[in-house]
């Protein structure tokens, strides 16, 4: 029997961005025939409504209002630095 299994794994960077990797496996009678990846990154400023459940849980745990505020300030500083170059 052929089966398509989609799972996700996550890795959090130092400043709180979540690297999300979608893993798609094709199985035949439980034996893996192929595996492919799709990646994207979630930042504290992103809407996580369409993310998988675990990414949503991670985001809700670490993206506190205070954390998001700090991240916004960091991005602003970064943009200002870029403009000055």
């Amino acid at each position: 029997m052929l089966e398509k299994l989609i799972t996700f794994d996550q890795q959090i960077t130092e400043d709180g961005q979540i690297n999300v990797r979608q893993i798609t496996r094709i199985l035949e009678d439980g034996k893996e025939l192929s595996k492919s990846y799709h990646r994207h990154v979630v930042t504290p400023l992103d809407n996580v409504e369409n993310e998988d459940d675990r990414t949503k849980l991670i985001a809700s745990a670490i993206y506190t209002p205070e954390f998001v505020k700090m991240y916004k300030e960091k991005i602003k500083e970064q943009e200002a630095e870029l403009k000055n170059k």
């Binding site: 794994d9 960077t13 492919s36």
Partner: protein
């Protein structure tokens, strides 16, 4: 004469005598020779202590130069773990991964009403570097206004001045003055798009530069955060 010999005891005399002791000594020497030759085949000196002491996880196998200078992989594959085991050593290759990403476009940070005929991307990650290609074909640029960004890179770009990689593009139905440019913005997953005149005036492209049905091919490699 063969390098290794073994004399099978014959006859009915099973008593250990001087001859038997000599045979045993020769056999021991033969075993030693076999082990030495195996060691040489593996590229190790019998005195260099380069073998792992045991097979526990986390051990490493050192092949001392110049015993072996080429490793031939007859199976033709090197497999890395699905989850990177990162190394801080500048001379250590610690990851390889192939996959897909979905490039997109935003204007002023918004994506309201933007639709695509096609949007596909591929990446290969080797060590700390991502090699990405992508194709975006809009069917509508939506209603948001402001600076244009290409979004969705598969990894966050390293936060360092030297990490802002410059992609190469091929596109249609996007206007610009003199020279079209792009750069991966450090510490993000986006590519900013700019134009620069021959007089040296740099400005950021906006929604106004994009036609509803424009398309872009891009290719970029950058260091990952």
């Amino acid at each position: 004469m063969p390098r290794y010999t073994y004399q099978q005891e014959s006859g009915t005399d099973q008593n250990v005598n001087t001859t038997d002791k000599c045979d045993a000594y020769e056999d021991t020497n033969n075993v030693r020779r076999i082990l030495e030759d195996l060691g040489t085949l593996l590229g190790h000196s019998k005195r260099d202590d380069a073998y792992p002491k045991n097979g526990t996880a986390g051990g490493s196998l050192t092949i001392p130069a110049p015993s072996i200078t080429t490793i031939n992989l007859t199976g033709g594959q090197i497999a890395f773990p699905a989850t990177q085991a990162p190394s801080a050593n500048a001379n250590t290759l610690d990851d390889y991964e192939e996959g897909a990403w979905t490039p997109g476009v935003s204007f002023g940070g918004g994506v309201t009403g933007i639709t695509y005929t096609s949007t596909t991307g591929l990446y290969t990650k080797i060590g700390n570097r991502a090699f990405c290609t992508g194709y975006i074909n809009l069917s509508s640029k939506g209603t948001d206004v402001g600076n244009a960004l290409i979004t969705g890179l598969p990894f966050t770009c390293k936060s360092a001045d030297a990490a802002g990689a410059v992609p190469s593009f091929r596109f249609d139905d996007i206007t610009f003055a003199n020279v079209f440019q792009g750069m991966v913005t450090i510490n993000t997953t986006t590519i900013q798009l700019t134009e620069i005149t021959e007089a040296g005036a740099l400005t950021t492209l906006t929604n106004a530069n994009f036609d509803n049905t424009c398309w872009i091919n891009l290719s970029v490699s950058y260091e990952i955060a």
